[in-house]
């Protein structure tokens, strides 16, 4: 007896789930069908912008291979859409007219781009038909569109100051396009970053050749290109930003309509409990961008502060890995064991690391409070819970900015701009929930030149030759006793007889001796 598992959607998260389920498929405990709307098997969507600026190839983006999977016994349906789920019959009806039975159904339908309400763009949110010269940069075909613009050195307008928009803008500018980022609010990244970080970030963008139009409200698009395509983005102050390609980067929205259509509960995404099960439906699960972990228990503490889907791939991959373990146990008929599996731990607040070459930035958590903001810092500091503390470093002239928001020495939020090693370290500390050194400036110095150790040693009692353990004093002694070449010193003291790395230092000691003698 084996279970039929059906996965709807074949993006990066689904690909991971398929990978993790392969042992059960090979072992005959599970039969697996995966349904993908696109004609390609899963590819790495995170790198679509890189593809769009010519930094990688479509081949290199592949996360799965349909033929390899078929050879493993997986039923892969590409270019097919799931039209409807019949929960009573446990069937998925597909756009090619076939139906697939499921014992377990996993929604991995992902998300679709948010298309703002602009005159000149079809506002139907479910199936926006974007006019020529406008793209939301979501799939391989969108990447081709961007590629043509970048290769032609065209003018690219990026609408949206989120991290994906900034990454696209930076990459396109570096590869030769003329790029303008249009965003609302005083600085890019909106509420993810604080004012200081946002200001240094915006300056960094400009330094990288990206024009930044802040506090801008867009109202429509103009189609005056010779081919009838996009020619300008119109703003509410009556101005227009001319361009050849508009990249819309205004966030994503979970694709929930299939789930809604079969009566599952949805919030921002498809609502699932801590075992990734749809509410009140033991046969259906959801993972990745389309899933919102929020259990039916109104008293659940973990769910009280839960945010919706993050839009990042990391949490989805962790869900896929966990769910594969759970489904494998179910498929093996070990329901009791599956119930004992510890639930997936709640996700840490998301960390955003800017994927860019010329500009380093990481942010995480709520960075709204300022060091002097007594009210914000003490809010929540009750029942012995320590108050928030903030350490901050701002050097806008050199494009550097760091803010660490801690509680009890552990990071609750961070901003780092222009300081790569500090960013890497802070993100690690944040993710591990590790305590920061009491002297926070240690973290700032990671990027400083004093971190690179100097060569040699000035202290005469110090060791010059580590290999043989010979001090500078011993070498000086040998020189005073008549050694005048490195070889002679080596013979007399063994210094320099190991790795040879100290030969220059020995030579220096000899020269110093004879210079002193001459003088």
């Amino acid at each position: 007896m084996s279970e039929q598992i059906v996965i709807v959607g074949f993006g990066p998260v689904a690909a991971r789930l398929v990978d993790e389920l392969l042992p059960a498929v090979r072992g005959g405990q599970a039969r697996l069908t995966v349904v993908g709307e696109e004609s390609e098997a899963a590819y790495n969507r995170v790198l679509v912008a890189d593809l769009g600026v010519g930094r990688t190839t479509a081949d290199a983006l592949a996360l799965a291979d349909a033929a390899d999977l078929a050879a493993e016994g997986v039923d892969v349906r590409l270019g097919v859409r799931a039209k409807r789920v019949d929960r009573a019959r446990q069937q998925v009806l597909l756009s090619d007219g076939t139906a697939v039975h499921y014992d377990r159904l996993v929604f991995a339908t992902g998300s679709r781009p948010v298309i703002p309400n602009l005159t000149g763009i079809n506002p139907d949110p479910a199936s926006p038909v974007l006019p020529a010269g406008v793209t939301a940069l979501r799939d391989l075909r969108d990447a081709d569109v961007l590629r043509r613009a970048v290769d032609g050195g065209k003018r690219v307008v990026v609408l949206g100051g989120g991290v994906l928009g900034l990454e696209t803008a930076l990459a396109a500018a570096e590869e030769g396009a003329t790029v303008t980022v249009v965003h609302n609010g005083p600085h890019p990244l909106g509420r993810s970053i604080d004012r200081g970080g946002g200001a240094v970030l915006a300056a960094g963008l400009r330094r990288c050749g990206v024009r930044v139009a802040g506090n801008a409200r867009s109202t429509g698009v103009e189609h005056n290109a010779p081919d009838g395509g996009f020619s300008a983005l119109l703003l509410d102050d009556g101005s227009a930003i001319d361009g050849d390609l508009l990249v819309i980067s205004c966030g994503v929205r979970p694709r929930t309509e299939l789930a809604e259509g079969c009566g599952l509960s949805t919030g921002t995404g498809i609502l699932v409990d801590h075992r990734l099960r749809a509410h009140h439906e033991p046969h259906i699960f959801a993972i990745g961008d389309c899933a919102e972990v929020r259990c039916p228990d109104p008293g659940c503490a973990a769910c009280r502060n839960a945010k919706g889907p993050s839009g990042l791939v990391g949490p989805g991959w962790r869900q896929a890995e966990w769910l594969a373990g759970y489904l494998t146990l179910l498929a093996e008929g070990k329901a009791a064991e599956a119930d004992l599996l510890p639930a997936l731990p709640p996700e840490q607040p998301a960390v955003v690391v800017l994927k860019a070459r010329g500009l380093n930035m990481a942010v995480a958590g709520d960075n709204a409070a300022d060091p002097w903001d007594e009210e914000a810092l003490t809010a929540g500091a009750v029942n012995g819970r320590p108050r928030l503390q903030i350490a901050q470093w701002a050097d806008p002239e050199h494009g550097r900015y760091v803010k660490m928001t801690t509680r009890g020495g552990v990071l609750e939020a961070l901003v780092s701009v222009g300081m790569p090693r500090t960013a890497a370290e802070l993100v690690g500390l944040f993710e591990r929930g590790a305590e920061l050194p009491a002297d926070r400036s240690l973290l700032l110095r990671l990027d400083g030149p004093d971190q690179i150790p100097g060569a040699g040693t000035a202290d005469p009692a110090g060791t010059v030759c580590r290999c043989a353990g010979v001090s500078g004093a011993a070498i000086q002694g040998a020189v005073e006793d008549g050694c005048s070449t490195v070889a002679e010193v080596s013979k007399a003291t063994r210094a320099g007889t190991g790795c040879g790395g100290c030969h220059e230092d020995i030579k220096g000691l000899i020269e110093r001796h004879f210079q002193a003698a001459a003088a």
């Binding site: 291979d65 690391v353 994927k355 790569p420 993100v427 580590r466």
Partner: protein
Amino acid sequence: MTKSADTHCPYCALQCAMTLTSPADLAPAAQPGPGPVPALNPAPALEVAGRDFPTNRGGLCRKGWTSPTLLNHAGRITEPLLKGPDGVHRPIGWDQALDLAASAVRDARARHGADSVGVFGGGGLTNEKAYQLGKFARLALGTSRIDYNGRFCMSSAAAAGMRAFGVDRGLPFPLEALDAASTILMLGSNVAETMPPFVQHLQGARHAGGLIVVDPRRSATAAFTADGGGIHLQPLPGTDLALLLGLSHVVIHEGLADTGYLQERTTGYDAVARSVNAFWPERVQSLTGVPADLIRETARRLAAGAQAGGSYILTGRGVEQHVDGTDTATAAINLSLLLGLPGSARSGYGTLTGQGNGQGGREHGQKADQLPGYRKITDPAARAHVAAVWGVPEALIPGPGLPAVQLLKSLGQPDGVRCLFVHASNIAVAAPDANAVIAGLRSLDFLVVCDFFMSETAAEADLILPVLQWAEEDGTLTNLEGRVLRRRRAISPPAGARSELWIMARLAERLDAPSTYSEDPETVFEELRLASAGGLADYSGIDYAMLDRGEAAYWPYPAGSTGTPRLFTDGFAHPDGKAVMVPVVPRRRRPSAADPGVNAAAGAREMTLITGRLLEHYQSGAQTRRVAELLAAQPEATAQIHPAAAEALGVTAGSLLSVANSRGEVVCRAELSTAIRAETVFLPFHFPGSESANRLTEAATDPISGMPEFKLNTVWVRPVAAPDSARMLQQTEAS
């Protein structure tokens, strides 16, 4: 009369060439010295000088320079010692000793079966001894239970190399080839401390600004990247695999891969490309703490080096001694294959073998699953060949035994090993979860240890058999390049010490063993040649006369050939001649259980323990701790921590620290250094007793290689108010 012998250093796999000379008139035994350093070293019986050789170019490190002081050391064991009922070892004669050992074997066999007798070998044994030990175990003892300390050393890289290339030779190229390279990526290897003369071969890359060192500590080797020498990547402990996947990601996505090479010389590219796709630099930055830009720069440098000058990727124990060590070595190999390095004229991949004969020691049958010539013990053709050389029916050769950690876990167990022979290994200090190992040794019915000092393992033995040191014997070793070297006798051994070859021969007689066991190294080597013929590690074309003429003999060296200085130039050792790329990804680790119940005392902090080596000491320190000069330089274990961690713990340099988890506790002094990450504590593993780092390491093993987890363990660290009595006692014992 002055006489001299050209030989090689007794310690690591670099096997620096040295000349040993007897002084014309031996100095009288040295005067007892004052102070804390015991005067255990009289004037050395031999003088040592570095000898010009392609690997060490006349260089020696402090360990090599001081090695002769051990020959006439006051603590040398020169008679067989039997432990009395009172626990005291007393001298006995050789006949009695051998009779006792033989009867212990017969006893165990009669009561518990042949597999109740075990053998634990070492990577320090000569090829001849390693070969004969494997034969002795299988035929004279009739046991499958033989393994060796190389399991703690080379097993992960060996398994990865076999899987990818079809053969495992640490460096498949002469060491000198590194000199011309413009880029060298070293992962988890601190050669500046472990084999200092090696560093000469890094200078070319350093001058080209292309020395890239991956180490969570700014080790002495990592410090060579300063001043334009290259790049130091400092990942979180245990994240090397993710870092390597990130490098491969950049190589593929930036079009730096050698596509022609991949097509012609490898299989498995597509699956590897898909698997690294999920490791883009910024994600890897979050996993490893290494900035994304440095990941990109490293990948580009490697690719540029492969085009001009040459690029090499070298791995060491730091990335291999993990429960995912085989996968990490595989990821390094995959990266090298993407760049087209292995088998090319000026580039390559290699792993740095550690122990003196770590290479030869893993080829000739002291591994649980192997027969001589790097043959598989499960391969019928291999069994038939070796059985024919040994002149025994194939059925007499037992099947595969247990890898080291499992073998040690079985000590004293009902179905486990009850009588154990230990050669060239100090498992009471060097094996993981050392407290459990010591308990296992104590639960044995009979323990025989062959050693020349009262090592911590010998101290547990029922019977200690005194053996020879390097300068007292002839033989061959195979260095880290796969080059076979001659070890030559320079001095007569103490009257009561015997070669292990002799011991095996005498025991085999007493046990009425089939086949022959010679005490003459050259005779054994001649048999090894036949046994290895046709195997992966084929020595059949090598003989003592050729080595004595100074010829460079790199295996495989089939009879009639001229050997193989550079492997893979025409193809890899798989049937289709192609290298196999195997996708690997980090698995979620089982948390290493530091028991919060232990040391939950106020002020204890959870930290990550990494272990490693000091320049002055070798392995368990059984030898180097007995060299006065080395002991004076590094007299005790110190725990290296970052000043920020010290501040949080409220300790200063020299304060006593307790480093503990559920497996044990180490008490030692703190050393403050900014070279280490703030959440990490470093301990050298050369010290015994309450300073023994391996009391803390976990005996969890790599599923493929059996390598234990030495480099990533969770510990609680807290200050200790005053030196406690147990520690003081330990100090006394050590001296």
